[in-house]
Amino acid sequence: MEFFWQLMINGLSLGFLYGISAMGFVMIYKSSSVLNFAHGELLALGAYIFLAFMMWFKIPAIPAFIITLVLCFAFGFLVERVFLRPLIGEPLIFVIMLTVGLASMMKGAILLLWGGNLYTYPEFIPQTLTLSLGGVNIQPVYNVSFMLGVVFLLIFGFFFKYTSQGIFMRSVADNQRAALSLGVNVRRIFALSWAIAALVAGMSGIVLGVINGINVHELSAIGLKVFPVVILGGLDSIAGAIVGGVIIGVLESFTGGYLTPSLRDVVPYIILVGILMVKPYGLFGQVEIERV
């Protein structure tokens, strides 16, 4: 039974990480309906910038964290400006392939700067945060990441609900033309949503880096695992991303524990195909209505 709970806890925390990683992805999809294949590289970018500030410039963790988020924000803004704006209204495959190209470029650049080795951050999380639940110890990093995740969820909950920019973003997601005619600056909203998504991705990347170590290949693989998560949760629902992430994480953990470990990485995709066959728009997603 203890094995079960250990797997459960592992799965939940892993799933929560997937959920957090998927949040940025959903944000981009929600406002600009772009399927971002460069999401894993955005995660990696955040993790590496944080690493650079911690290791090279020896800045303490909290200021480094804030600087990283600011840089990621700026980077997201820039990406939208330079690469995605010219493609508004172009066929889907071009947009998808553009993000694939971007992913390849970013991966190349990161490998060029840092190489493909596994890095770890210096210890900066106090050990006093260890929690113990009925004999199962929970690592402090998981607690910190959980808290970070909740804080970000709350911030974005409030952001979407009460700030004008958040409401604009929701309106653009809902109906672009109606938003345009009501005076919403759609282009600025696109840029803003990319910037915020890159910021969230950077945050998730740091959390992932703290837990698993930092490696471009692994982080970009997680970027691809975001797809089952968001399909399960519905492509345009942030809460759905967390739920989907948790489900996928728990399933992965149990497959790894009770079946064969090698099946672990494929299970999400098998589930994905199953869901697409049965309920194509996800558990919480909106059904698209289309007219000729």
């Binding site: 694939v100 190349g108 490998l111 098998i270 195909v273």
Partner: protein, 356 residues
Amino acid sequence: MRALKFRRCGNFHESYREELNVFETDFGRFWVVIGFFFVFLILPFVATPYVLYLVTNIAIYAIAVIGLNILTGYTGQISLGHGAFFGVGAYAAAIMATRFHMPFLLSVFAGGLITATVGLVFGLPSSRLKGLYLAIATLAGQFIIEYVLIHWEEVTMGTMGINLPRPTIFGVDVGGDVKFYFIAFIFLFFFLWMAVNLMRTRYGRAFIAIRDNDRAAEGMGIPIFPYKLLSFAVSSFYAGVAGALWAFFTMTITTEPFNLGLSVEFIAMVIIGGMGNMSGAIFGTVFISLLNEGLRLMADILINARIFDQAALTMAPLKEFAFGLAIVLFILIEPRGLAEVWRIVRSNFRLWPFSY
């Protein structure tokens, strides 16, 4: 004998039949003859083994890219799983040749047929999904097929790989660089010819109608789902045949090359060449292959020069970067690809000096 047509400066079609002509002018036919001459009679006898290897590789990839172009460029369905389909073809042919001792041609076509079946299965989601959902479904297909290839060890030998026998046609040995070069190009021309003509039939026109607007196509009486599946099957058949040829070409296969990177490379070839254009598929394949080889050669030169040992080590990521940059630049600057660039160049020559 009718008069030859070489230059035209407008659209002079008088019947639908003329619209369907493969070559608009005899100039096109002339160039095809020159191309045949060059490919079959000149190149194999002057090229170094390295160039020959490169060109054979391009020919084999081009078959797969033509197939993907039928699916993506003409039917408008995105597939991120063609790298895996290519692998299925390679493995199917290898297994047919080693376990069941099938002759070369039969195992290549068996590889194609098996891949077409697999492609059909992964095309099933297209009944309800389109656009990005289909892209995600085929992405999942890529990972699942890769997993099966690695872990179904009784059949695929897992990470050990399979060694293939030398290919023979009716007892004649066709292995080796030069002979296989001819085989690859005969296959390429045959499949190119099939694809060009497929697009002139009712099936091809139905594909194009589905690409342009699937609801409207349905309204006009085209049963969308069977046609989408057909497109998936034809496209995977092409990928499978190409994979099978590739397996016989390299003589030994492992699961490693058939990853997502290969799928992305295929799509990049289609886009950079020009979607919905058969010559584009060839252009794109040549471009990406030469880009890869060029960057690799650069790395070799740097290593041999012994100046930039450190820089040479970083060439692999630079290759990745350049590949991404090529995709991004083409999409931003010329989304219709090299075929469109070629068309513009041609029409500039034809209309010179009055370019309007």
